[in-house]
């Protein structure tokens, strides 16, 4: 039996009572929406207007709505961190006095989209630059200013490297002749052998 992932603090207790009072009709959609947006770093999942609509729909004050949204996000983050099974998640939630139907809603939303969310978190990298796109061109160089009658095949590789937030795709161009390309390929094969030895 896993230790409790949701601590019983005052704000949690208050949130639970609010959650229990919420109308169960729109509840599942709210849950899945928050789960989908979990891996994005942006603070607010909802815009101002959407928040106002939610306030009306769930008949909650602004402060209370924020508390509810934060608590749900926190529960999701913990589920991701500990890689909980849906059943165990439901149990945990019921042990902090969440109503059964709400806990069930959590469990089914988690069963549907939980693994995908974990995968997205797995792929998240901390390094500043990441390889995003690969493009290439195979050319036959006929001549250049210092050499005539060449007929030498050359490959141009275009690597799209992005910064952490996915913007600013910088293109790096690298040219290879046959020999250089072969050496590069051998290096990639070595890396692949290392990856294979991990599994």
């Amino acid at each position: 039996m896993a230790a409790s992932v949701v601590p019983e603090s005052d704000s949690i207790r208050r949130a639970v009572s609010l959650l229990n009072a919420v109308d169960p009709g729109r509840f599942p959609r709210l849950l899945s929406r928050l789960l989908q947006k979990l891996h994005l770093k942006a603070e607010s999942t909802f815009s101002e207007e959407e928040e106002e609509k939610l306030q009306i729909a769930f008949s909650l004050e602004k402060q209370d709505l924020h508390l509810v949204l934060e608590t749900i996000s926190f529960i999701w983050e913990q589920a991701v961190y500990h890689n909980l099974k849906p059943a165990s998640l439901q149990q945990q939630l019921q042990s902090i006095h969440l109503d059964q139907d709400k806990a069930e809603a959590f469990a089914s939303a988690w069963a549907a989209a939980g693994q995908d969310t974990i995968e997205k978190f797995r792929q998240r990298v901390l390094t500043p630059r990441k390889l995003e796109t690969i493009g290439w061109q195979l050319n036959l160089q006929m001549a250049e200013s210092t050499q005539a009658k060449l007929k030498s095949p050359r490959a141009v590789l275009e690597l799209g490297v992005s910064s952490e937030d996915g913007k600013n795709l910088k293109k790096v161009f690298v040219e290879f002749n046959h020999q250089e390309l072969f050496e590069f390929y051998n290096k990639l094969e070595t890396i692949q052998a290392q990856l294979d030895s991990l599994t």
Binding site: F121, L131, E144, T146, V174, E175, E180, K187, I191
Partner: protein, 250 residues
Amino acid sequence: MAAAVGKAAAVAYGHGESGGGRGGGFLGPRVPAEVEAMARGVQDIGKETFRRLLRVAVNALEGKDCKESVKLIAESTNLSEEQIAFLISGMYTLLREALRLPLSTFKQETCMFYVAARCCYTSMVLTVLGLFLSSISDSLYFLIPEDFIVDFSSIVFGNRRPTSEGTALIQGSRLPSIQDLKWRVDVAISTSSLARALQPSILMMMKLSDGTAHRFEVPVSKFQELRYNIALILKEMNDLEKWSILKIQD
């Protein structure tokens, strides 16, 4: 005798690149002005001075700095600066154009000429002479003294050719190539968002020939894509090199 045979070859086998008739051979349809001026001016200077000027031109082709040597020549001989200028520039242009063409262009005429030169005393020298003579224009041939032509040929065909060619390749215009590739494979055991991640990742550090360095992470799926694409390019390159059009020697 040597001159006569050489001249016969020049007439019989046409001229290097442009394929026969009047003109400058590998120098193009019109001989560049500085080469012609050099050809005229070179008759009046001694062999020693010629050799020094030639050495300066060769150093320039190999990318070395020649200001000192030019100054020395200017001081020790009685040539004016203008004369030195057009002599060196003529030699430089002549050699540069000759070095542009691969050796195979000249080699074709070797076997044909060797037959004619067999009767001459140093067929080796003459093969080289003949190759060069058959490629420069008639007008230049008459102007440049034979010894000097031998010196020119020895640069174009001799041991120093790979150095000049090497410099040409380095200075040639091309996109940066990989100078150094360092990599590492990491496995992330735990992160702030996942207690048990166990996700392998690859970090690459690429140094390019233009001095820039790029460090980036390659997710495993992208790495597979990269590997696939590189293998595909290699296959295409191999297919390309088998094309029969590439086997035609010109």
